[in-house]
Point group: C2
Chain length 341, copies 2
DNA sequence: CTGAAAGCGCTAACAG
DNA sequence: CTGTTAGCGCTTTCAG
């Protein structure tokens, strides 16, 4: 019932605990014969090192926190996979906490993680600046933070991993134009997250270049849920603003918008083509399936985990920014003849 | 930089560490004045108890594992919320691991959690019997397991929380019939999970009762993804089996099926009504929105966490089975006149 | 090559 | 009411 300890082995073999420890750790100064005996006994008695004791000894908790804005979409779950692929192997536990797009909940989550004594935190934030001071404090107190996806304003010197938002947004805009779209709506993300401004800028640059930019088509939203997508496009229709396509900040906005259009009897992609940024199964779970910029989420997670371990192992190591490459995937939601309408 | 310890406070105030400890823990025998001084100093020096030390002292890790079959849908995320709502408050960390519907990965996950020295495990399993022996071993070694949603065959005496699958499936079948459906397909879940057989039985009972049961309409699937839903309905169409509605084991099967039908130009719900079991945002993220049995996922999580804590605190406490109440929500996917077709 | 002893940070008898 | 001591399980000097 009670787990076997070093002391148990020590009694069992009439050896000191230090010898047992050395044998188990494959230390230099240990008689091969002794080592063998110890290993056998350990095996027999089902010895498992007590991780808590090790943690105390080494002054680590061997756990890290992952804080994400939402878990309605599988976005974070995919990132988690990457993180775990890297960290579980080296004995690290990951504790995931969801902020529900609220900077205040994010605060609570970070505070909780500090109480949990995590060795580090991987964070996808809710608001570019709101909690900056807290991030700084936490890091000063000795817990490194690595950011991904939504990163903080550049006042902070931190490691982060992002994708090439501007370029991919540009390419997606080009794609829409190449299929004959002229009135391209952009459903913007929250102005408080960097990706949103980057994607909007990419979109705008291309539309300007083609001489079809119209500020009326840059639509502010009030969040990133299905509901927000629906509201935004409802508003457009109400205002009577004509459009033949939508490029949304996220899957969720795109899907919310698309479903509302379908509800109104508007055909996708024939009357309105739709696309967005993704990297999750969500884009293929609707009909028509969404064309989207697929982000390498698992890789993002692995990269973030790697950067975090660098910081944990050497707190003075340089901060690094990794820019990963996303790629466009064309699906049914933008599949129409290249002619107009 | 280095965290403040009891010893630091002890030096600072010239008191023994035990007095400090007592003051902080609000023990009986402590002079109010001393207590005040200690509390102030602790505040000032930013003292935070070292959880690892506490864990070692109390012989706990203050962490539990949550093992789930998938994270593509927000099902598990919702359950996680409930678990955390209960456990984070009492200082428990939860470590979530995903089995990807593979019993072997589930084994790995459980093994990893044992290595992590978790105090208990909450498990939504992949296969009713495959890992039974392992569950028993883990519990024997002292780590309690509580099951939810998909529970093991009844050879095991364990706490579990489920919903009233049979009844709800029956009610959903009645609903379809009340809207005029006569050829109701059931997309079955894996025969290796209890809920699947329960839901199928509920469906069958009602169809038999109404004299419209046809074994051809009980369709086996090869999994529970969008793809499996699509394959199943594709097969039905190929075989030329007529049907006017589908009741699916899960959201994902229903959505996969629905999207394929829409792709084929078949109208939902006019030509085929669709519904399923859910409890997540997925059912409202498609068009038309899915009628479904909404399970109280957060409550499931809370209940499971509560049952687990019972076992952690007293390993000899009785196992309990909680049956929660789900409820039907009617949405667009089954909204048609009550007449035929 | 092995053992004794100290210590990671904390709590809880046990004395006083 | 406070201090001393021991101990949770493990590693690592330091002696031998």
């Amino acid at each position: 019932m009670k787990p076997t300890t070093l002391k148990d082995l020590s009694r069992h073999l009439s050896l000191s605990t230090s010898t047992i420890s050395r044998a188990l750790l494959n230390h230099k100064n240990i008689h091969p014969e002794t080592r063998k005996r110890v290993l056998e006994a350990a095996e027999m008695l089902g010895y498992q090192p007590n991780t808590t004791a090790l943690n105390l000894r080494y002054g680590k908790s061997k756990s890290i926190g992952l804080v994400v804005p939402e878990m309605v979409t599988p976005f974070s779950a995919n990132v988690l996979k990457g993180i775990q692929a890297f960290l579980n192997n080296i004995g690290y536990k990951v504790i995931i906490l969801v902020s529900d797009e609220s900077p205040d909940t994010e605060r609570d989550n970070l505070t909780l993680l500090e109480r949990f004594n995590v060795d580090g935190i991987i964070l996808n934030l809710c608001h570019e600046t709101y909690n900056q001071a807290l991030y700084a404090q936490i890091m000063e107190r000795g817990t490194p933070i690595v950011f991904f996806d939504r990163i903080p304003g550049n006042a902070l010197d931190v490691s982060k991993v992002i994708v090439n938002d501007h370029i991919q947004a540009s390419l997606m805009a080009e794609h829409l134009i190449s299929t004959g779209c002229k009135r391209i709506v952009h459903l913007m993300g929250p102005p408080t997250v960097r990706n949103a401004t980057e994607r909007a800028a990419g979109y705008q640059r291309i539309l300007v270049k083609h001489g079809i930019f119209d500020p009326e088509l840059m639509v502010k939203t009030h969040g990133t849920t299905f509901g927000h997508g629906k509201e935004a496009v409802k508003e457009l229709l109400k205002k009577g603003i004509a459009f033949d396509s939508i490029f949304a900040f996220t899957d969720t906005l795109a899907i919310g918008a698309m479903n509302y259009l379908l509800e109104q009897g508007i055909r996708v992609p024939e009357e309105v083509a739709i696309c967005s940024f993704s990297g999750t199964e969500l884009s293929t779970s609707v009909f028509p399936q969404l064309s989207s910029v697929e982000q390498p989420l698992k890789e993002m997670g692995e990269a973030a985990a790697r950067l975090l371990m660098d910081k944990i192992q050497d707190s003075s190591s340089d901060s690094r920014t990794l820019v990963l490459d996303a790629k466009l995937i064309y699906r049914g939601s933008t599949a129409r003849g290249s002619g107009k309408h």
